[in-house]
């Protein structure tokens, strides 16, 4: 067990001069990210199957009205948006999702969400949501089920 004692001593020595470096890096990143909002879109295939991705268990409790029982994570779309910035994601088929951060404050962010099917804009909505919260857009048909898009705004 000598190696374990030596490792502990090494870590103790390193920790003496580390805090100043770490705090400097943290503050620099914080200043960069302060004006940005992290938006994450999950593309989920809701079906009548029995496969449920562990991360999506909360979805089952919300979507019981659709009678879907299977929720499979197809893809995640992370994005960092500044106010006025937008991001676009290709979903299944010709479906496409476009997000635009309209505004933000300490409590909530205002997000415009547009859903396209080919060139047709099937949905255009503006949602004001509290920070670190999620909401759901769903319904487009896909492989006998539907596509569900949980959107999460974090900052």
């Amino acid at each position: 067990m000598m190696w374990l004692q030596r490792l502990a001593c090494l870590l103790l020595v390193l920790s003496v001069g580390a805090p100043s470096v770490a705090s400097a890096q943290e503050s620099a990143k914080s200043s960069k990210m302060a004006s940005r909002v992290s938006v994450e879109v999950m593309m989920v295939h809701a079906s009548s199957g029995d496969q449920v991705t562990e991360e999506l268990k909360p979805l089952m409790k919300q979507l019981t009205f659709t009678r879907f029982t299977g929720f499979e994570m197809l893809q995640k779309f992370p994005a960092q948006l500044s106010v006025g910035g937008s991001a676009s994601f290709s979903l299944v088929g010709e479906r496409r999702l476009k997000l635009e951060l309209l505004s933000k404050d300490e409590k909530r962010a205002k997000l415009r969400v547009r859903l396209f099917n080919g060139k047709e804009k099937v949905l255009d909505t503006t949602v004001s949501v509290n920070r670190n919260r999620s909401f759901i857009i769903g319904g487009p048909r896909y492989k006998g089920g539907a596509i569900v898009l949980p959107l999460t705004v974090r900052y």
């Binding site: 870590l11 919260r133 909401f135």
Partner: protein, 310 residues
């Protein structure tokens, strides 16, 4: 012709006529217009031929005894319909035999002769209509045997009519299943479960059952017995604890382990409740129906229904 001439001729033919009867018969004969003149002169004149002459005259005059058919017709005409009553039945045994044979011949494989005859004996002890009916049948049928099959065929009915078929036709359809089941229930249980299993074949319900049971299953399986520690190296554990404390104090950023990764910590989904989200604007195309709803735990859901329009 007078009855007297008739009686005299019969007596002469039989040889029982008195001596004076010949002259009287001849006198009556001469006065009968039906007898030809040449016969009038010679009939009953020769003593050796008187009996033959009497028989010939009876035949010529239509008074012959061998006229059974005419007599039977006359009798039947006078008697009317079945009005004859016989006090005795000398031919009873022969008629019984004829009837029995006829019934046996007509009944095929069904032996009803004894029953029929027994019934006839009881109901017709004096044998009132039997002989008359039998005689009438015999007169009509002659010597040809008549069977039930022939009678049915002559009536246009099926020749091979059997009692069992007739009973089945008369009975129609009788549902006895309820009685059968009731009877069986007292004797042995009906293997319904086995029958259902046999019809179903192999049905895999494991997934459905496990899905139903999944909320009930604990996520962590507790061991029944905890294995004993392999050693008790307290020094090593103290050193490891110090190292862990140092790591917590310094943080992962100092070690550069977070470099290049997102600064945002991945949290589980936390859905906004009603007061935490506002839909400020909503529009959609004509090809979909959109509803704004809440999930079972209050999350905002904007749901597109494409089938409603299609």
């Amino acid at each position: 012709m007078s009855d007297r001439l008739h009686m005299l001729l019969i007596a002469i033919r039989e040889g029982t006529a008195p001596e004076g009867a010949f002259a009287e018969a001849r006198e009556l004969l001469l006065g009968d217009v039906r007898v030809p003149d040449d016969l009038k002169e010679e009939a009953l004149t020769a003593p050796s031929e008187r009996e033959a002459d009497a028989a010939a005259l009876l035949a010529i005059l239509g008074l012959d005894d061998d006229l059974s058919g005419v007599l039977r017709g006359a009798v039947a005409h006078e008697a009317g319909e079945m009005e004859s009553v016989f006090a005795s039945a000398p031919w009873e045994e022969s008629e019984r035999r004829v009837l029995a044979e006829s019934v046996e011949a007509s009944s095929g494989s069904v032996d009803v002769a004894e029953h029929v005859l027994g019934r006839v004996d009881r109901e017709g002890s004096d044998w009132v209509y039997g002989p008359t009916l039998s005689a009438a049948v015999k007169d009509e049928a002659g010597q040809s045997p008549v069977s039930v099959g022939q009678i049915l065929a002559s009536c246009g009915l099926q020749e091979e009519l059997r009692v069992a078929d007739a009973i089945r036709d008369g009975a129609g359809s009788v549902d006895v299943s309820a009685d059968v089941v009731e009877a069986l229930s007292f004797q042995s249980a009906i293997p319904v479960a086995a029958a259902i299993r046999s019809e179903c074949g192999q049905v895999d319900v494991l997934d459905s059952v496990m899905r139903e049971l999944s909320p009930l299953q604990p996520s962590v399986v507790e061991l029944a017995t905890v294995p004993a520690p392999a050693n008790r190296s307290w020094g090593a554990w103290v050193s490891a604890a110090v190292a862990a404390a140092v790591l917590l104090a310094v943080g992962p950023n100092m070690m550069g382990w977070n470099a290049g990764t997102s600064d945002v910590r991945v949290d589980p989904l936390r859905f906004a409740m009603a007061a935490e989200v506002i839909v400020e604007d909503l529009s959609y195309s004509d090809t979909v129906q959109v509803m704004q709803t809440e999930g079972d735990e209050g999350a905002l859901i904007i749901w597109l229904d494409e089938e409603a329009v299609l």
